[in-house]
């Protein structure tokens, strides 16, 4: 018992006798990181949004006010919020519709080598630079690009033109239309939707689907009443990624699309070019609030069990 122990030994003894001290020491670094660097900067940002900019001098006035939040509701700014949210919603729904069958096949039917191929196929786009992918899509969608050529070869140019003449989603060519922006977002974020769905589908026991069939359910009924509810947490987990990533992106809409601003670009322009930090901060708060509501709903649906 009275074995000779050095200072290290004594520390070790103390930690063994007081487990709470050990836990405290282990948690301290991440807590500092989260508390000071992460939350601290977040609150610094939030605080900025309660200041305002002087209309005449352009100087920031350090007085608490809600005026800057009021400016968010000016038509030109509110447009940006609506545009971004609509795009994020559309991308999320699109990704779920495309991602589900892919994930289903990968989870249920792909075996051995093919399973690896599927994983690779889904992950591969994540390995190349995001910018390279977006530029590649710009070329695919261009007026003199591959897609247009395809439509021409099939003598379907009239179809594309008719589609592009629809206001809002159309434009002069696919690469300068909202549809183009949507397609690129969809492509870039799709893996983030497929992987959680696949994880949740793999957890659905086959026996349940068989039982449903044995009890006389048609495949569509099995899907609606058994498979989908069980896989829903995965879909919601994926949608958190696609929704929040679209909400915050400011590079894709700059390269592909009609130059109409999204929230990320507005933040960048207001803080970088205009020096209007309060409005930039207020804009940055919008996705935080939207995501808070979204996560709260997702939590209630049990989405975090599938992460």
């Amino acid at each position: 018992m009275n074995r000779n122990s050095g200072p290290l030994g004594r520390i070790s003894d103390a930690l063994w006798r007081k487990p709470s001290l050990l836990i405290f020491l282990l948690i301290l670094p991440p807590a500092l990181w989260l508390g000071i660097i992460y939350l601290g900067s977040l609150f610094a940002l939030l605080a900025q949004s309660f200041f305002s900019i002087d209309e005449f001098t352009g100087q920031i006035q350090y007085e608490w006010t809600l005026k800057t939040y009021g400016e968010l509701f000016r038509p030109s700014n509110f447009d940006i919020i609506i545009r971004t949210v609509v795009m994020a919603t559309a991308v999320t729904i699109g990704a779920a519709i495309i991602g589900f069958p892919v994930a289903y096949y990968a989870a249920r039917y792909a075996r051995g080598k093919w399973k690896a191929v599927f994983y690779l196929g889904i992950m591969m786009p994540l390995w190349s630079s995001y910018l390279v992918k977006v530029y590649a899509w710009k070329l695919i969608l261009a007026k003199e690009g591959i897609l247009n050529w395809l439509f021409e070869t099939l003598h379907l140019s009239w179809l594309l033109e008719a589609y592009l003449s629809i206001p809002i989603i159309g434009g002069n060519s696919l690469s300068v239309s909202a549809t183009g922006t949507f397609l690129v977002f969809l492509y870039v974020w799709l893996p983030f939707m497929i992987l959680p769905i696949q994880a949740s589908l793999e957890r659905v026991p086959v026996s349940m689907l068989e039982a449903s069939g044995d009890l006389g359910a048609r495949p569509s009924q099995t899907f609606r009443h058994v498979l989908l509810p069980l896989a829903l947490p995965g879909v919601i987990a994926g949608s958190i990624f696609t929704f929040s990533l679209t909400l915050g992106d400011y590079i894709i809409p700059q390269i592909v699309g009609s130059s109409r601003r999204f929230i990320g670009q507005a933040v960048y322009a207001f803080q970088g070019t205009a020096g209007n930090i309060p409005l930039a901060a207020a804009f940055a708060v919008v996705p935080i609030l939207l995501m808070a509501v979204y996560l709260w709903i997702a939590k209630r649906k049990g989405a975090f069990d599938a992460l």
């Binding site: 710009k138 060519s173 699309g257 130059s259 601003r261 207001f270 970088g272 205009a274 209007n276 930090i277």
Partner: protein
Amino acid sequence: MTHYLKSSTALLMALTIAGQATAQTMVTEIGDGEGQLNIVAWPGYLERGETSPDFDWITGFEEATGCMVNVKTANTSDEMVALMNEGGFDLVTASGDASLRMVAGKRVQPINIDLIPSWSTVDDRLKQAPWHYVDGIHYGVPYMWGPNVLMYSTEVFPEAPTSWDVVFKPMDLPDGQPNEGRVQAYDGPIHIADAANYLMFHQPELGIVSPYELNQEQYDAALDLLRGQRTIVSRYWHDAFIQIDDFKNEGMAASGTWPFQVNLLQGDNTPVASTIPQEGATGWADSTMMHAEADNPNCSYMWMEHSLASNLQADLSVWFGANPAVPAACTDGRGMQTAEGCTKNGLDDFERIKFWTTPVSACESQGECVPYYRWVSDYIGVIGGR
């Protein structure tokens, strides 16, 4: 996001530094070189033969002075201001929409032009230009300038368009097709000045004296013009290389642009040409400015002399499609530039160019003008269709 973080840090630094009084001292004599020099510059402005072996104006300087040059490139004027606010740099090649911000923020120090022997060779039109000469004090050495030209497809236009009309108003182009969807505009609030420049010519009753000094009425007229432009512009150009791509793959017919893109596209055998229409054009004029707390003042002064006296002026003007601040560089054979080359880059059009400056509320020509931050938010609105 990194941009955002960087800028936020820079801002914080700026706020901290702004609180301290900075001594405005001027260097009175040049000592020995400190062995290195840190410069913030536009991409393509400082070449040491790595991009193309023909274009090198750093190696000679390093050999002659022993000052090793470190280059940090910045893509926008705002990045330049942020980097200079962070500190750690000696020199910056600032455009007119950044220079006054740095003078006002006391980030740059007065330049003693007596220590720069070649100062006398600088273009007289630039020696006391308002973007670096403030209250009788020189804050910069002119570096390079150029116009924002109108680029057009020679397949669409057999002859150069004579007016900026083609990018501002819906109309049929010479090939019989409407210009809708085939023209571009610059994706920066400073483009409002191009609209104002157009109105100066076409609506003299508005009384615009400078496109960078607009009262509310003039400003509203410019925005109205730009709202009309939105209906014919399919994409606003932001990145020079995306615009080049659009002229190759999107069937673009005309756009305001820099000579840089015109040169690259012509070098690639794309059928384009450029012109400065009857209304004149906006443009940029850059100056070398010295940080208020530069660590290497001697090397800095040596570089400023080098920037005026060496092959830099001639070769850079060829490389970038710009005009030298020293007109003699066009003709004296110190580099590759020739008199014809300078004429092509717009050397004779100086009077027709309104150089970029930051719009401020207390403007010279009229009591009160619309400040830059409103240009930013309103231009976002215009692009969004408001």
